[in-house]
Symmetry: C2
Subunit: 531 residues, 2 copies
């Protein structure tokens, strides 16, 4: 069953090997876990619902608890401490666009705030209800989870917006197709959520971001149904798709997504190459993408991430062997691991692999084959489970991500890491910080930084540690040419930093756009911008 207070299926646990435990102990010191509250206790704390009854609305405490929070670190602290603050007053599970229309009418008639809920995987507070006078209804789209049409000639598939990643792929795979959208949250996040928050997946180098995959669909708004027809491209004025993507629920509830799909590829494999240092590795990655080598994914870990991953992998003998082989070829301490995928026709994959190896070599890269790449592919969606294992050991983990142009990548990356690493110095706490680049463009790339620190003696103090790290780094990002988010969206947590990025007129445009659909600001208020 799905964990009510953390990530994923509670039958699945990722164990940290002893070497990993030792590694963290060395880096930040031994952890002391905080005590978790149980579900029953939380359910007993849920106040009565303020909603007038509606046949589609469920007001059971457990439903409300399970829809109150996402997966940000503050969400975790709330779920583990039981200090939720606010719960939605009810949850609806619509099964059709008509159900959604009824819910919108109900919300308007009764002055209810609506929060669209996909997989509940937000790490930026998208789905958290607000304290206030208005009752809050969370609309869980999870029952609208079917592939309803597949046009194999145009390669367009139609899905209910609540379809989660695995059901997107399994329904397509049965017909020989794939969407190819694999965010880290794939197991739980939904296609409608991807659209609403401008998601990007691990193989975006081949399949594109959701911006390239979202072809059209239906959005139920307080003004009626917004239908976006599919055309492959258009110069007919501003693109309505682009107004929906990133609207994070403030325009309406996406009910149907038409997406561009691809036939299952003839070939796919994942490869690993090690580079002697960061500069060579980063230049190789930049050249690869600027050269338009047809890779399907590319991920470049910096030296600390490489070291951390190898330490946490749990095959010490194998790793030692690998390291001695690399050392013979001049790749020693400070080495950086690049993982890349080739996907497509055999001919394309051969060409891409040839180009990648030749280019890598120019930058001192040592190609190690597909063994580690296969490992990566097997474990690609399990990383969030590690958070649970670390939590039980008394460590908090969070990630921060941005994107910037190539000329600024090192500058921004170094500032982010430095700020996090030094962030808890006053409390004499160390923070273990490591980074990879995971989405590549000729213009620049994303920067994805993980930071691990010890939980404090109390939940409040732990939150304060997190808040200091997060807020100072977020400020730093938007003042140093980074976007506040490359793939996680804005939600409520990033909203304070958006004006710096978009400017006053950009914010005016966003407000005016959302306001035209929702003048009373009933839909996901305070998300994207303060009401």
């Amino acid at each position: 069953m799905r964990r009510w207070n953390g990530w994923g299926d509670d039958q699945y646990n990722l164990e940290l090997p002893d070497a990993g435990r030792q590694f963290l102990d060395d880096r930040v010191g031994p952890g002391t876990p905080l005590r978790d509250v149980d579900l029953d206790t939380v359910c007993q704390s849920v106040p009565p619902s303020r909603l007038v009854p509606h046949p589609l609305v469920q007001t059971r405490a457990e439903d409300r608890v399970r829809h109150a929070r996402g997966q940000s670190l503050p969400d975790w602290l709330a779920m583990r401490s039981g200090d939720f603050g606010v719960f939605p007053d009810g949850v609806a599970y619509p099964e059709s666009a008509d159900d959604v229309k009824h819910l919108l009418n109900y919300a308007r008639s009764n002055g209810i705030q609506l929060i669209p809920y996909g997989g509940g995987t937000s790490v930026a507070g998208h789905i958290n209800p607000l304290a206030g006078n208005k009752p809050v209804l969370t609309v869980d789209m999870g029952r609208m989870n079917r592939l309803t049409d597949l046009d194999t000639e145009s390669q367009v598939a139609t899905f209910g917006a609540g379809t989660p990643g695995p059901l997107v792929e399994s329904q397509l795979r049965a017909r020989g197709y794939t969407l190819g959208h694999f965010p880290q949250s794939f197991e739980l996040s939904t296609i409608g959520g991807w659209v609403a928050s401008r998601s990007s997946g691990q193989q975006s180098l081949r399949y594109g971001r959701i911006e390239q995959l979202f072809a059209g669909g239906s959005i139920e708004t307080l003004q009626g149904t917004l239908e976006i027809p599919t055309v492959p491209a258009s110069s007919a004025g501003p693109d309505i798709r682009e107004m929906v993507m990133g609207s994070e629920g403030r325009i309406g509830l996406i009910t149907e997504v038409r997406a561009r799909v691809s036939p299952l590829p003839e070939h796919e494999s994942f490869h690993v190459m090690f580079f002697p240092d960061w500069e060579q590795a980063r230049n190789a990655a930049r050249k690869l993408v600027q050269n338009r080598t047809q890779l399907s994914m590319l991920r470049l870990s910096n030296a600390v991430e490489t070291e951390t991953q190898l330490a946490l992998a749990g095959h010490p003998q194998l790793i030692r062997l690998l390291e001695s082989v690399l050392a013979l070829k001049g790749v020693r301490g400070g080495k950086c691991m690049m993982t890349f995928g080739t996907t497509g026709s055999r001919r394309q994959c051969r060409t891409a692999l040839g180009e990648a190896r030749a280019l890598g070599k120019q930058f001192g890269g040592v190609y190690t084959g597909t063994r580690l790449g296969r490992k990566w592919a097997e474990k690609r969606f399990t990383m969030p489970y590690l958070r649970e294992a670390l939590w039980q050991m008394g460590y908090a983990v969070d990630t921060l991500e941005t994107a910037t142009d190539w000329d600024n990548v090192d500058n921004l990356l170094n500032r982010i890491e430095h700020n996090l690493r030094q962030g808890l110095r006053e409390q004499s706490e160390r923070v273990h910080v490591f980074t990879h680049l995971s989405h590549f463009y000729p213009q620049g790339c994303s920067i994805y930084t993980t930071y691990v620190f010890r939980v404090a003696d109390s939940y409040d103090e732990t939150y304060a540690r997190w808040h200091h790290l997060k807020s100072t780094t977020s400020e730093l990002i938007v003042h140093n040419r980074g976007t506040i988010s490359h793939q996680h969206g804005v939600g409520k947590d990033h909203a304070p930093y958006l004006p710096q990025e978009k400017g006053e007129l950009g914010m005016m445009a966003i407000r005016s756009l959302c306001g035209s659909f929702d003048p009373e600001q009933l839909l996901n208020p305070d998300t994207l911008f303060r009401n």
Copy 2:
């Protein structure tokens, strides 16, 4: 010097070979040209300007004549007949963003309508002034035409928005780079115009549409300066770039464009393959793009266009030789010509050519090498000159374009051609109609149809012929899942068809967005939507 009443440089004339003349005579009958008015006569018809003087504003008659019309067929008829209807009251030639700010203040203070003018190449009435009480000032961006910055690491170039195609490319080429944006209007159209109208170029398969090339920039609006910083990608809410692209002057005047550029490719060549019939050819093209073969351009002419192009090419002996070779391989009447480009590293080009030839062969394609491809590349921007030659012979030429999903391409193409071909039947006039597909996506493609008909005895009657063909076909397009424009934009001519495509809520969103920047609707009024 630039022609005041038609396309391009008046020193350059494209002669139609005798065979071409005969071909048209056979298809639509002999033409009788209408009489052209001269520039002096038109200048004498220009009424006094209603503008209060401003140091940046020029009110000479010739400036106003030269900025009154674009390149649509109604624009031609106006310029050739002298029946302009309306002229702008003046023209400004700003040299900086500050100049543009002054002009915006001047416009607001005096209730003046502003029309941004790039290359004046619109074929949809973007830059035509409106009759009305408010004076109209056209703002010619042509003096802001410099490459001001080139970041070779991030591959981002900064241009004045008025930089025309040749100056974009020559300034980049001197540094070893290319933008790779080659619309048919390349010679005259500007980078700012491309952004404002969501342009697409002949090699969009490699370089992308302007949507992929526009990284950020500056827009002067009546509310202040909208600065869009460059980031490679972002999930930080709705994308402000996407609000500017396709805004067609209604949000503000683009002054600076930062664009994603590429190093000049190691290799580039253009190839031609003939297919025995349309179905095989269209399927081959669809498979090529769905297979993600790394082509840089692809163009597929239907049988009538293939026949027309070969007839108009003017090398009858060579063509006869080609046709007898093709006939030996089973490709005869009804054959369709595919032109494709390979651009990139030698290895990429080799792979792409191999894939294209192998795939073409499966569909009965006969590869004929690069000779005809070279011809295409040499003449790629000269087609608009043909209009002049045909006009002098008494023929009117216009083009219509759209895009639709693959499952609808044949249906829509056939309806468009049928409607045009039958369109002047009541007047016993024939229309020569042919089509190519020129922009390809896994989801669908653009449909680009050319139609040639004889001018009537009068300008009014000629306009009526055109209007009947254009309006009935435009209706047909938007009622049959086509976009009203894939690459020409909306302007004033396509505005009546936009609501059918965008829907009531889509139009509301666009109006609200533009209205937030320009509540008094002073900027390019009636473009995109009626004021």
